[in-house]
């Protein structure tokens, strides 16, 4: 129990923004309840429902889970690991950009490095 609480406390520092940590705090309670009453099955179902909800979300027509769950293999280069910046020369596919190649880099220091 102590180990779990310690882990949770440390993990809470990973969350970058305050709003997000509030969301997580509220999300935790139903999951704790489920895990306490139904164990592994409860956790699985809880996360399943959470996942379904996240996949249903869309902001301005772009799916929330964009490069992963409508799978765009080319966009994965900026998701889990980041490739070098000169490789990141295409726009994400899920926003349906008119030009798929980046016209001008948004980072200013980019020219110096070339």
């Amino acid at each position: 129990m102590v180990v779990i609480i310690a882990l949770t406390a440390i993990a809470s520092f990973v969350v970058p923004s305050n709003e997000m940590s509030n969301t997580l705090r509220i999300l935790t309670f139903p999951l704790i309840l489920l895990a306490g009453t139904f164990g592994f099955v409860g956790i699985a179902i809880g996360f399943l429902v959470l996942l379904i909800h996240l996949s249903r979300l869309e902001s301005l027509g772009a799916p929330y889970f964009a490069p992963v769950s409508p799978l765009f293999v080319k966009d994965l280069k900026d998701t889990f690991l980041r490739l070098p910046i000169y490789k990141l020369n295409t726009r994400p596919k899920d926003v349906n950009a008119q030009k798929s190649v980046i016209v001008e880099r948004s980072r200013e220091w980019d020219d110096n490095e070339k």
């Binding site: 139904f38 164990g39 592994f40």
Partner: protein
């Protein structure tokens, strides 16, 4: 006619087929196969994959004749209003029955392995409610979720890879000792496990891509599922001896139970957790198809309402069956055997009627 945004991509199509097919069957397939065809079960599995490949070709030909219609619409057009509607009704009933069968088997297995004292309807209601949420969403959203959940197959695969040092290939021998008949009987069992490919006929018109690309994706999905099953069957046939496998109804779980990692000691529970996801996906596909059918029957546009109606039907059905009206085994036998009628016989009949009447999709004809 159909907006570009509302179409599935080929990837999503692939994962929808996979997730529908891989479901409740994974855990008990090696046992069922072994009961009828002993150590030659893998041969019958390969034969059944070839069979299904042929059936899928027929599906594709049907799709080529009516590229914008799903099976419900096709039946309405080919058979006419009354016969078409009644066959559609039968399809809906079939999907409801399959859904209830999945729920029963699921809650039984959970009762056996994880939560022995929880009443069965609690397990069931869990799965049912989350699946109602899943299948009331749009088909593209369903595709997205299935894509995401398919990453878990990698974990399943890796978990099963642990068994490789323990495998003994000689359990597979002698090959075809009992002759050809047990192998053919095994084909029956493995086709039953692979059922669910009927979803292709309903999803095909909403996938974007050329007809050839779709055929490739479909066959790819079937072969993926086939190889996954083959892998599972192979591992559990070579891990357990021919005598041993008779006493383990869930070979995969017993296999994983014998391993232990440093942090996770009950791998079978981990496997079950991931398996719950794939059961949920295949169940919600059937729920989706049933709701699509009821929408067609009542000529309504609101699908969410019918998802709830179908879910309630399934729930009531499970309660009726569980009150010992018939045993689960006989129920499972009836339902899975009727799969032959609904996912093989009726589509082929429909295709033959199409050929006879020379019906095709006409330009400018929309529905």
């Amino acid at each position: 006619m159909i907006m570009k945004n509302n179409l599935l991509s080929l990837n999503q199509f692939f994962f929808i087929i996979i997730q529908t097919q891989i479901g409740i069957g994974v855990i008990s397939l090696p046992y069922d196969l072994h009961q009828v065809s002993k150590q030659n079960g893998w041969i019958s599995l390969i034969i059944s994959i070839f069979l299904i490949q042929i059936i899928i070709l027929i599906f594709w030909l049907m799709y080529n004749r009516f590229p914008t219609l799903n099976l419900y619409d096709m039946q309405m057009i080919i058979y006419g209003k009354w016969i078409g509607q009644s066959i559609n009704f039968l399809y809906v009933l079939y999907f409801v029955f399959v859904g209830s069968l999945i729920l029963i088997l699921f809650s039984n297995l959970i009762n056996l392995w994880v939560l022995p004292h929880t009443p069965y309807w609690v397990n069931m209601l869990f799965l049912l409610l989350s699946c109602v949420y899943l299948s009331s969403s749009h088909i593209t959203v369903i595709g997205r979720i299935y894509t995401f959940l398919s990453t878990f197959f990698i974990i399943l695969f890796v978990l099963l890879l642990n068994a490789i040092p323990e495998l003994k290939i000689y359990y597979l021998f002698p090959i075809a000792k009992e002759g050809i008949m047990p192998i053919l009987k095994g084909v029956n069992q493995s086709v039953l496990a692979l059922l669910g490919f009927v979803v292709i006929l309903f999803v095909l018109p909403v996938v974007k891509g050329t007809a050839k690309q779709k055929l490739k994706t479909m066959s790819g999905a079937i072969w993926f599922v086939g190889f996954f099953y083959l892998f599972v069957v192979f591992i559990s046939f070579t891990f357990f001896s021919t005598e041993e496998i008779k006493v383990v109804p869930q070979p995969v779980l017993y296999l994983l139970k014998s391993f232990e990692f440093a942090v996770v000691s009950r791998i079978d529970l981990l496997f079950l957790t991931i398996w719950i996801m794939s059961v949920a996906t295949s169940f919600s596909t059937f729920l989706y198809l049933a709701s699509l059918g009821t929408m067609q029957l009542f000529k309504s546009k609101k699908r969410t309402k019918f998802v709830w109606v179908n879910a309630t039907l399934i729930f009531l059905l499970v309660i009726v069956i569980d009150s010992k009206l018939i045993t689960i085994q006989t129920y499972a036998k009836y339902v899975s055997n009727s799969g032959y009628i609904f996912s093989i016989a009726l589509p082929i009949l429909l295709y033959l009627v199409m050929l006879l009447l020379k019906k095709r999709h006409k330009e400018g004809h929309s529905s």
